[in-house]
């Protein structure tokens, strides 16, 4: 069983995010880390690999598109137990939008030919939550998203996802693409052995040329969207702060009634 997990190096949660007004792109110069829900996808892949048990045949490959320093985040996933890394990194790929990114990732995934492709539901920087759909479409593979429970049986994957009205249970034949929600599992902490061994695992960094992708199909020139303008969100209205002197609850009810919300 070969499982590819698509992961992203995103600005660390502790870093104040800033958009560069010149390039109209997110400033990625600060501290970065593994996209939080991607850790759930890695965890799920490791569980599947280890449960399948046949050891030698099971493999978890991390696939990513990003700057070279993305390797720092990928090493964290290697420390958790993933087997190797395939990072697509090329200055010409910077600024790729959803369409271009999906095409680059699909190309890298084609090389791997994994039985199962996992994604975290969304990235904490762009919050698009559509990349997996675009990649599945390009690979012509079935897709299950928002998966909170995943089982593999008889060459098929079954995903359970929570909706507003209950659960959808969806089954798809392998190979398939699955986007997982953070409720699917609790990602493990990397062990000391995992941390010490991460650097020695295979880490391939591929350029666009390595993937036989023309530069104009990536980056800004390969993108179909263009950011025209940026503006700050409107300021929040006046805030009122209440000190709770024992009548806090009443005051909140009064306020809601005043606004005709209750």
């Amino acid at each position: 069983m070969k499982i590819a997990v698509c992961v992203k190096h995103v600005p660390d949660a502790a870093v104040t995010k800033r958009i560069d007004p010149g390039t109209k792109r997110l400033d990625r110069s600060g501290e970065g880390s593994l996209n939080p829900v991607d850790a759930n996808a890695v965890e799920e892949a490791l569980r599947i690999r280890d449960a399948t048990g046949d050891g030698a045949e099971g493999e978890v490959v991390l696939v990513s598109l990003g700057p070279e320093k993305a390797i720092d985040s990928l090493r964290k996933a290697l420390a958790m137990g993933a087997d190797r890394v395939l990072l697509v990194s090329d200055p010409d790929a910077a600024g790729s939008d959803l369409v271009a990114t999906s095409s680059l990732l699909a190309k890298a995934l084609e090389r791997e030919g994994a039985d199962l492709v996992l994604f975290g539901q969304q990235a904490s920087d762009s919050d698009g939550a559509v990349l997996w759909a675009a990649v599945a479409e390009r690979l012509r593979l079935p897709l299950i998203s928002q998966v909170a429970e995943l089982t593999l049986e008889g060459g098929a994957v079954t995903g359970k996802r929570q909706t507003e009205f209950g659960y959808d249970v969806i089954r798809a034949p392998l190979p398939a693409v699955v986007a997982v929600a953070d409720s699917i599992n609790e990602p493990r902490y990397p062990s000391l052995k995992g941390i010490m061994g991460a650097k020695r695992k295979q880490q391939d960094v591929l350029s666009l040329a390595d993937l036989e992708i023309e530069a104009e199909r990536a980056g800004a020139s390969g993108s179909r969207t263009e950011v025209l303008a940026l503006s700050d969100p409107p300021p929040r209205g006046e805030t009122r702060k209440l000190e709770d002197d024992g009548t806090g609850a009443e005051k909140i009810v009064e306020f809601l009634a005043e606004k005709r919300l209750v």
Binding site: D72, R75, Y189, S191, L192, M196
Partner: protein
Amino acid sequence: MSRTEQAHRYSETEEQQALRGAVADVAAKYGSGYWLEKARANERTIELWAEAGALGYLGANIPEEYGGGGGGIAELAIVCEELAAAGCPLLMIVVSPAIAGTIIARSGTDEQKTAWLPGLAEGTAKLAFAITEPDAGTNSHNLATVARRDNGGWILNGRKTYISGVDESDAVLVVGRTDDEQTGKLRPALFIVPRDTPGFDWKPIEMDVIAPEEQFACFFDDVELPAEALVGGDVAGLDQLFAGLNPERITIAAYANGIARYALEKAVAYANERQVWDVPIGAHQGVSHPLAEAAIQVELARLVTSKAAALHDAGEARAAGEAANMAKLASADAALLTLDRAIQAHGGNGLASEYDLAAYWGVLRVARIAPVSREMILNYVAQHTLGLPRSY
């Protein structure tokens, strides 16, 4: 060495940084609330110990062939510091993997290594360490705990005091003396004494220290031990004992450095948030400068601690000894200064139970006394670093 390489001596390897981050993540799940709840209820930190052990953090310095991380005291000190920085200082790291783990890995027989190191590495086994005696506090050359040969084994007699964590340990590594068969003189020797050995009795010492580990008085009354209880067999000597002392000093320094960071972080958060007049109190130099000075002292202490760890791991015993002593003194002093200033920045709240601050004073104050007092370190530096006359 290039300038860049020289600068990198002051930063950690990628793996060490990753270890720091991983330990901090695990420790954050527990935090001061967990540690203080255990300490106040006189309970052990079993859950955190087990989780850190299963992840291999507690066995960072144990050789790989025995299931450890194959790292050094530098890695174990990182584990120790990060747990403490989250409000979870674990004293038994200093005792079990740092002292006992180092001694057994260096001097133990193959059987002793196989019996103890895998458990120490995973945290499933714990060894306490007993050196201090009621009548030979600091003078380890004057130990009255003596083992004599008997029937191919040993009979151990003596007393020990202020021994940490006997109740939670599988056995105690006891420093005693034996008669040398050739010279008839007494020479130091270490014995592994299982907790339930007949004749070995241990009683808690009531302490005014809030900690999840207890201190014990140990009594060895004609304790019969097999020949294999002697660490290293007949060949080992004083060296094996000293092998464990630098790791002890380095990890206790890391423990203090971690608590200092914990206190400083709390003080900074409070000073940024607390507002009495029109600005947060941290805007007043009367509040900010004492904290800035504390931050500098803590950073200096951390630097000499990592220097000591690096020297120890490189096998430079003598240089490591000097640095480990300096690190122990500097870290305890810096941490106590920092905690005091963090309390001051909090005003009355600094002493209130809900602020989880003053409760750490006891365990930090211990670091100024144990494993070796501030005064004995000053004696050492005066004599060995400065070349002044010996004072005792």
